[in-house]
Symmetry: none
Subunit: 218 residues, 4 copies
DNA sequence: CATGAATGAGGATTCATTCAT
DNA sequence: TATGAATGAATCCTCATTCAT
């Protein structure tokens, strides 16, 4: 049975729509992606989209945040595992970076500026903030553990450091020339962050004192 | 000439238009700013915009990159001045951050993601890339000098470090809760970066060696 | 058969649909009532509607004209009963008015202007005209008897007077402020009509003569 | 100059749009008139409509109520003129009827049921009610004067009688077969109304007493 | 008989751009 | 230069209708 003719196999419709939207948004700017294109790419009728999403906004939002929960879950798992801080950080970067790379221009990771700028409607704003906070908190957990173990500086809140790390990852992917070999070497990025975020050697001057003025570059 | 009657003093029309666009873009998402609004806010006729700009794109581009040259110039000046690396970095952050804060959501600083995503037309793409490279290069110059003086690690290209720093500043402004007191303290950000980018103490094991893989957080 | 499980008792489906449509049309303008709403309100699937009605038009038509046959029948019965003209008219008004009040905005009574304007397709047009003529004729019968008995003026066709009466009833319900106490007193309306439609006192000048042109208001 | 080529003479654009809308609404049901059609018929671009009207609703409303103010003014003038009640009523009917005939199916006169059903939005509702009250009041003024002169029954409020008269006129136009010769003779309608609304001969039984039960039809 | 996911033609509305003045 | 009325292509969204189950 099921001679639906030219229909695709019974892949769940909503999934197909999301996939098409993802695909298109990775190529064209948000602004230029129309629902007709999404529908066409997904091989469904235009109206079908509205059976699965409230709105164009809703579709975009879900597209942008797809898989985000999983990412947060994974990062959270790293935090909870007993893994040493250094390895944990590397693993976090790998996960976040992988997620980011997979969703390329979607920028679903932290700021998705296109998205965050589009959604100024309060409803979306808060939806978005919640998602973002989820990831920052997960990363902050890893750092908190590092602080507890005396490995991460505790003169800055974990959330602040988490934001910095995420910002670095973002830059790494967005702004770095894709052909730079270093870009493939996440370890370098982790190293810079770890050193910047490390607790200063206990013997030397206190961290918060005035190292800003003193150490390396006088 | 110019008996424009009840018009404002002969403030240059183009300047007024740019100012209005800046104002509006700082509030609404790009997507929601219309030329009618800009014209109205600037107190000029809609057609007048086309006397000063090719296009809506052109207007947006000029709006986004307004003052960017000045910023690059200032950063370059810091690099050329003999100021010590540490102070130079702080000053760079102050400048960039100030520019960023002033143009808030315009994101004219490094990537202006909205912008970069909007402009896929080759013409704009390259126009944009050039602007961005200008700033990265200026920051990289400061870092290069630091490397020459043995204060900045030289296992990573200066441009990579420059990108990281700019990414951190961006995060600092975009993602950090505006009410966090730390956000006002740029020195903290500089400190994290400087330590991360510092040349490792000569005594210990070489930084790039393999701590990444082994030790937790030294 | 009919192992419908948790369905309602075998209330006739079509009746439920009509009831829901009536309910909805009494609240929202025709224009805003969708088949989804009707189906939902009736607790049936959307497709089911098409098992009982040709069309949305058909559903609307049947909804609008529901009970109309009964009304015509009742009015006809009054005409055939030997009841005196005055009482008969009052009774007619009561029936028509009651029907009208029950179906309020449906306006199924005489013109259902919404309906008459909607249905320009010849099929519906004639269907509608037939229904309307039925009622006018029934009312006209009552008036004809009154003419035969010398109580109703016969210088105007019974159908014309019937239309006038129906128009008055319509206005009474539609245009009169629902809070006006008089609105509840149909007798007043009947009185106006009866006096206007009464045969003029034999003694005075003939009604149709020319009072219209000359005397103010006798 | 002004070789606008295929443009129409400088008839005011808004007027042209209203005229086209009127024309179309007189043929097709409200529901089927699209803005494209209106624009095309008016020989203007689709967007131009939005320069002159807020909305489709606004366009329709203005179309329906076009000339209504004039009508009310004329009726008011009749009331204020010293004309005898009978002639005044005839004149009122002539005016209202003329307005009605001119706007045919638009029903702008009193109830414009299509319109009144479409506009359930509070804004339009009240806009509509105000217009309607204007006309009823104007007609009621004429009747009030008749009451003061003892020519019109005063056991019913003037507004109620005004509504009845307007309802009769509406029926006359809408429901009567256009070919009935009587339809052209408004005097007949006025006569029915005048007799129904006349003060009963002072000599006979009091009007409010029980004439309903007694006179003409026993 | 009953269902409801899928469809896609159709319509309201926006807005960058032009051009006669 | 400056203007702003006019334009119409482009887009989001609705909803009557179908059909595989």
């Amino acid at each position: 049975m099921s001679l639906r003719g030219n229909r695709m196999p019974p892949t769940d419709t909503k999934v197909r729509i999301l996939a098409s939207a993802t695909e298109l948004l990775a190529r064209r700017p948000l602004h230029d992606v129309t629902l007709d294109q999404v529908a066409q790419a997904a091989g469904v009728g235009k109206g079908t989209i509205y059976l699965h999403f409230d709105d164009k906004d809703d579709l975009l939002f879900q597209t942008f945040t797809q898989g985000f929960d999983d990412l947060c879950e994974q990062v959270g798992a790293i935090a909870r595992s007993g893994v040493a801080c250094g390895q944990a950080l590397e693993e976090v970067c790998r996960q976040v970076s992988g997620h980011f790379r997979r969703r390329r221009r979607l920028l679903a990771m932290t700021g998705a500026e296109d998205a965050s700028m589009r959604w100024q409607a309060p409803k979306m704003q808060s939806r978005w903030r919640m998602m973002r906070k989820q990831l920052v908190d997960a990363v902050a957990q890893v750092l908190s553990r590092g602080m507890g173990q005396g490995e991460i500086r505790d003169d800055l809140p974990a959330e602040v450091l988490a934001n910095i790390l995420l910002g670095m990852i973002r830059s790494w992917h967005r702004d770095l020339d894709p052909d730079t070999p270093i870009r493939k070497n996440l370890a370098a990025l982790v190293d810079v962050f770890r050193r910047g975020a490390a607790r200063a050697p206990a013997t030397d001057a206190p961290l918060a004192a005035e190292p800003v003025r003193t150490s390396p570059c006088p």
